[in-house]
Amino acid sequence: MIGLSHYLIFSTVLFGIGIFGMLSRRNAIAVLMSVELMLNAVNVNFVAINRFVTSGQAAGQLFSIFVIVVAAAEVSVGLALIISIYRHRKSVDLNNFDLLKW
């Protein structure tokens, strides 16, 4: 039977891929996508918890709805910023964002 632990392992792997992508990709949009992957790993967790641990309550599903909405707001701000930066520098490569010491 596929149980909670399978989902937890799956989401941990997904989360790890997200972290790896965030650290290794140099394109600002790809980095944002990796962050989304991390948040979606969390969503998988919450929905699985809702099914296996707290059946009858909707706390897990509610949590994932909030995560989705907040992530959308975050990405909107992020993409708007990327557009604004692109207008000035004609690049979305993080290696070129070196005005500040990273």
Binding site: L8, S11, V35, N45, F63, V77, I82
Partner: protein, 472 residues
């Protein structure tokens, strides 16, 4: 349910929208936004103080109204007011976007208020994100300035990643407890590898928000790139909000868990020691005032974390006391840094040369604020550090208190270095640094608070004592 229990939150949300809407008015009607926001914030602060002492648990425990939350609400509102007042002529750089600036400041405050009152992880998360998303925009507010937008994007990527880490921690804890209510978590926590991993991730997420070493990489960059008033607000208020949430989560859920054997105090104590040492050492070599204050704020977060690691009456009282005096002292220093930046166009420490001749009052207040941050008696910082380190010693972390003491002495060097530049080196210009009445008011409040709290700490100390009563 009485609607007045949520007065602070409702009023803040209304004020934020009003500021946004008045910004759309044509012509000169726009200019009322600033004074309206300040008046509104002052009113809300008075309202919050008047309602101190109310206790209630709303919506089945997901929203808590108690003294602890009320204390932090006062702190956030004070910080917002001082920062908005002190921004002064820097606001001219925002051109026709001033109303958005005020609106976002108010929304960020609302997020912090929700964080301090959250009795549930969902509420906590929503408050946290309301605060940080507002801060992403505020950090990138100077859209034409490459530094500012770059800082905004970096903050967004790292901030979103840290939120994801925090959430992953919450989900692991929730997988074992089956509840999102912080108060109900403690009874069901047990020593399982996944739970421990969850708590560690939770701590890492918070550590990122309060920029504890080794999660501090973002701080200097973002602090340098953001508009100076925003840096100021970021360093005092967002840190205090993260501490408020962290204290509640760790004291209510982790510390009180009977089935969990995890020496989280020790982990936090080690992190605090690392933060104090590294933050102070790197601050020694900074040449930019914003980066200097950024590293100093990392070190200050270490002191406050020491109080949480102690987790006893003295330590927690120290956390609350120090968080508030840090608002006054750091804001004072930042307001002067803002004025000097507007005057000279530079954020280098060099720009402070001869400030004592040009504006003696500013130089004196800057020195008072910095010495208070260093913890020199009879200023407020000394009393705050006394509580924090006394708590650490009581808990058996004598080494932590010693490290804090030694590094405080080291910090005097770089704080006094700024004073040296102001008092000894010669100025290029002679005319005084300009500032409005609001700017002076904010400065005097900061300076007087730093002195008053140092000489007569009893009232605030009692208030902090009442606020932490629910954790003891």
């Amino acid at each position: 349910m009485e609607i007045s229990l949520l007065g602070t939150e409702i009023l803040l949300a209304t004020l934020g929208f009003l500021a946004l809407v008045t910004g759309l008015l044509p012509g000169r009607a726009k200019s009322i936004t600033g004074s309206m926001s300040l008046a509104g914030l002052l009113l809300i602060l008075v309202y919050t103080i008047a309602h101190f002492g109310e206790e209630a648990s709303l919506f089945q425990g997901i929203y808590l109204v108690d003294n602890f939350a009320a204390y932090f609400k006062m702190l956030f509102l004070t910080a917002t007011l001082l920062v908005s007042l002190g921004a002064g002529r820097y606001l001219e750089r925002f051109e026709n976007k001033k109303s958005e600036f005020y609106s976002l400041m108010v929304f960020a405050t609302l997020g912090m208020v929700i964080m301090a009152s959250a009795g549930d992880f969902i509420t906590l998360y929503v408050g946290l994100e309301l605060m940080t998303v507002s801060f992403y925009i505020l950090t990138a507010f100077l859209l034409r300035d490459g530094l500012s937008t770059e800082a905004g994007l970096k903050y967004l990527v790292l901030g979103a990643a840290s939120s994801a880490i925090l959430l992953f921690g919450i989900s692991l804890v929730m997988a074992y407890t089956g509840t999102t209510v912080i108060g109900a978590t403690a009874a069901r926590l047990m020593t399982e590898p996944a739970v421990v991993a969850g708590i560690v991730l939770l701590a890492a997420g918070f550590a990122f928000k309060i920029s504890v070493i080794p999660f501090h990489m973002w701080t200097p960059d973002i602090y340098q790139g953001a508009p100076t008033p925003v840096t100021n607000y970021l360093s005092v208020a967002s840190k205090a909000a993260a501490f408020a949430a962290m204290v509640r989560v760790f004291m209510v859920a982790v510390d009180a868990a009977p089935g969990l054997t995890l020496s989280w105090n020790l982990i936090l104590a080690i992190l605090a020691a690392l933060t104090i040492i590294v933050g102070n050492l790197i601050a020694l070599v900074q040449e930019d005032i914003k980066r200097l204050l950024a590293y100093s704020s990392i070190a200050q977060a270490g002191y406050i974390l020491a109080g949480l690691a102690a987790a006893n009456a003295y330590g927690l009282k120290g956390v609350l006391f120090y968080a508030l005096l840090y608002v006054f002292c750091n804001t004072g220093a930042f307001i002067i840094a803002t004025a000097v930046e507007v005057d000279s166009g530079s954020t280098a420490i060099e720009a402070f040369r001869g400030l004592s001749k040009r504006s003696p009052a500013l130089a004196a207040i800057m020195t008072i604020c910095l010495l208070s941050l260093a913890g020199i008696p009879p200023l407020a910082g000394f009393v705050g550090k006394f509580y924090l380190f006394a708590g650490a010693i009581q808990q058996g972390y004598l080494w932590l208190a010693l490290i804090g003491l030694i590094m405080s002495m080291v910090s005097v060097y770089y704080y006094l270095n700024v004073s040296r530049v102001m008092y000894i080196e010669k100025a290029g210009k002679q005319e005084p640094v300009k500032g409005s009445g609001a700017f002076r008011l904010a400065l005097w409040v900061c300076a007087l608070a730093a002195i008053f709290l140092g000489c007569y700490p009893a009232p605030l100390s009692n208030l902090a004592q009442q606020a932490i009563q629910l954790f003891l």
